[in-house]
């Protein structure tokens, strides 16, 4: 009897889980399906789900019209560059705040977060002018810098939360056993902090990959990443859904695959310390 109830409950949860999962995934699935339709079928009402003439025409069109690999390479460089640089700054900062806090640590953290509360467009003109004067417009260096700065508060906050979870007593014990600061960091702290750092890294790569305000406004031809690539396929006059879907599918594919493989790490990192 008890086993029966458990099994029923499991079934219910499975169904609920799949329903939520599929609902969340549906827009992406629909984009992928639409990318294989003709423009006419893409707007047909009622829409067809599977039974239509599948075509690769949109992918060919997108590939001939714009250089996917150039945009993808820019996306990779910008997202990896900004995240890597961000971690270089944020790890020592979060470390200091977590392990030797002062009475202002909380305020500093709050102040850093408050910079995220301003809508980015509010600082577009000053940043644009700075970029113009330093010759950074349409350069990957400029974008790496600006995305790093935009995501820095989030990186610091995430790392701070993870580092806080590491008990100071372990470090003390290591010191009692005669570990030097270097050994303490390499053998004790680093292994414990790796999951947190890894999930911060992954999440920030995703954030930087999907960023579409600065990447659109500060680039033209040379440094334009995939967000600009997608934006060039939307049109106020004419049909564009199928081509836009093909471009979007191509743009999200790499990050989707990366997310898929690092799923375990991401979930672990995000729920780290959530249950005590």
């Amino acid at each position: 009897m008890a086993r029966e109830t458990t099994r029923n409950r499991k079934l219910v949860f499975t169904v609920i889980g799949w329903t939520i999962g599929l609902t969340l995934f549906f827009p992406i699935l629909w984009t992928i399906i639409t990318s294989f339709k003709t423009e006419g079928e893409a707007i047909a009402s009622p829409p067809s789900f599977v039974f239509f003439q599948w075509t690769l025409e949109n992918y060919f069109e997108v590939q001939t019209r714009s250089d996917y690999f150039k945009h993808a390479m820019n996306s990779v460089i910008i997202s990896l560059g900004s995240t890597g640089l961000g971690l270089l700054v944020a790890i020592p900062a979060a470390w200091a705040m977590a392990f030797s806090p002062t009475k202002h640590t909380k305020n500093v953290l709050m102040w850093m977060l408050s910079t995220k509360m301003l809508p980015p467009v509010g600082v577009l003109v000053p940043i644009f002018l700075i970029f113009r004067d330093f010759g950074l417009l349409d350069t990957r260096t400029g974008l790496v810098a600006v995305l790093m700065l935009m995501n820095l508060p989030i990186i610091v906050w995430m790392l701070y939360t993870y580092f806080k979870e590491i008990p100071g007593e372990i470090l003390e014990a290591a010191r009692m056993d005669g570990a030097t600061l270097g050994k303490e960091i390499v053998y004790i702290l680093a292994p414990m902090a790796v999951p947190g750092i890894a999930s911060t890294l992954l999440l920030n790569i995703i954030l930087a990959w999907n960023e579409a305000f600065w990447t659109l406004n500060l680039t033209a031809a040379d440094a334009a990443p995939l967000s600009a690539f997608i934006a060039s396929y939307s049109s106020p006059e004419g049909l564009f859904w199928a081509k836009l879907s093909a471009a979007s599918t191509m743009a999200i594919a790499p990050i989707l695959v990366m997310g898929w493989f690092s799923q375990k790490q991401l979930v672990r990192g995000l729920t780290f310390g959530a249950v005590k």
Binding site: A44, R65, A224, S232
Partner: protein, 436 residues
């Protein structure tokens, strides 16, 4: 080792000087069919001009506008050629942000440009942008539905006729709606349509002293007519329909009439996209017998920002892309129906074009009927048919469009929407220093 390094450095230096000798033009353009075709065919231009390379930045209209405006206003210098519309040209030319185009080539034949379009791109007698394609608006209607209802569409209908026909054709049970019109808020969406419509009702945005005119009976008539018509004979959710939504509705056979951009004519008559391709007729935008019709005028044009360091090469490209020879190039590669419309008189005199494009005559008539320098029945201090060419208009136009959209959705009354539009426009005009 040292030698290798030296050789490498020399090689890199040589390569960079070789690259530097070719000039690269960065061209910002919109993602419309005609522009994409130009991008494809531009290899012909680079073959003729091996010293010029082209780099394309294609964007959706609103993103494009935001980017090129930021760039030109701050003299960012990222672009050598910009695709801009009839709204930007008069404003930017007055700011000295654009280069006057006086070097388009000996055989350019500037007098061949349609006078209405040329007028919209000329400031103080100088042409500041060359039109790539031009459009007006007109009525596209379903000949089969009109026949079934026993109605004959005249070439130049009145608004009363359109309203009457729309109500007769509507068959909501079968999802046939008499008329589809723009309802989505935005200065380039419903505000454009309603401003042009208002012109034919005798309304105007401002009087000669820049006072907003939304408190006049003409505007009340316009908005009441529009809201009533769409409520009776429009598709459900019309307040969120823009150009693309209506295009999809019309192409799937759900609209009896659609009054919108002439450029749509080639989409709705294309059998690959449209279910009703062989059942579409065309007529002039309606009027009320006051001497102005409800059609607008727009031209996507190519201009050179004053900050560009490659002005000569840029003018050379513009001269190529907007020439008669380019039209012939498109015709030879992709057929006459795909030639960018609405810029040159010679195109409309071409018998082959007339044969390939059944909508050619009506497009030309519509463009001729719009006059951006005298858009309204009563005199106005501004240029522009479906817009007012002042920098403040994008903001005001969208805010007013939101009021109109709310009136159509029924969340506010026509009177209240007009009152709000009047107040917000007055406030912005005071802030801009036009009125005290």
């Amino acid at each position: 080792m040292v030698l290798t390094r030296l050789a490498l450095t020399a090689g890199v230096l040589l390569a960079s000087t070789a690259l530097a000798s070719a000039e690269t033009l960065t061209i910002a353009t919109v993602n419309n069919g005609d522009m994409i075709r130009m991008q494809k065919l531009s290899s012909e231009f680079t073959a003729q001009n091996p010293d010029i390379e082209l780099e394309w930045v294609t964007m959706e209209e609103n993103v494009l506008r935001q980017k090129v405006t930021t760039d030109i206003a701050t003299k960012g210098g990222q672009f050598d050629i910009m695709t801009i519309g009839t709204y930007e040209v008069p404003i930017w030319a007055k700011q000295n942000w654009l280069v006057a185009l006086d070097d388009l080539g000996a055989d350019y034949d500037v007098d061949d440009l349609l006078p209405a379009i040329r007028g919209g791109l000329t400031v103080d007698g100088k042409l500041y942008a060359a039109p790539f394609y031009g459009e007006s608006s007109m009525v596209m209607y379903r000949t089969d539905l009109f026949e079934k209802a026993g109605i004959d569409m005249p070439d130049a209908p009145t608004w009363d006729f359109v309203a009457d026909a729309a109500r007769k054709i509507t068959d909501k049970d079968n999802e046939i709606y008499g008329v589809c019109l723009r309802g989505k808020a935005g200065w380039g969406e419903n505000t454009a349509f309603l401003s042009a419509t208002a012109n034919s009702f005798g309304a105007r945005w401002f009087d000669m002293d820049w006072n907003p005119q939304f408190d006049t009976p003409q505007w009340k008539n316009t908005l009441t007519f529009y809201v009533d018509l769409l409520n009776d004979a429009g598709p459900p959710g019309a307040s969120s329909n823009g150009f693309n939504e209506n295009l999809a509705l019309f192409q799937s056979g759900k609209c009896g009439m659609w009054i919108d951009a002439t450029v749509a004519a080639s989409f709705v008559t294309n059998p690959a996209e449209s279910k009703v391709a062989d059942q579409v007729g065309f007529a002039m935008a309606p009027d009320n017998g006051l001497g102005k019709r409800g059609n607008w005028l727009w031209a996507w044009s190519l201009a050179v920002p004053a900050g560009s360091e490659k002005q000569a090469a840029a003018q050379k490209f513009i001269g190529w892309a907007t020439s008669k020879a380019y039209a012939e190039l498109v015709a030879s590669k992709e057929g006459w129906a795909n030639v960018p419309p609405g810029t040159r008189t010679s195109l409309y005199e071409n018998a082959e074009y007339q044969k390939a494009a059944p909508f050619a005559a009506m497009t030309l008539e519509s463009i001729k009927a719009a006059d951006p320098t005298k858009p309204t029945v009563d005199p106005v201090p501004y240029v522009g048919v479906q817009f007012v060419a002042i920098p403040e208009f994008q903001g005001i136009g969208t805010a007013v469009g939101q009021q109109f959209s709310a009136a159509l959705a029924g969340t506010t009354s026509v009177d209240q929407a007009l009152k709000n539009a009047q107040n917000l426009t007055e406030r912005e005009m005071k802030r801009g220093g036009y009125i005290k």
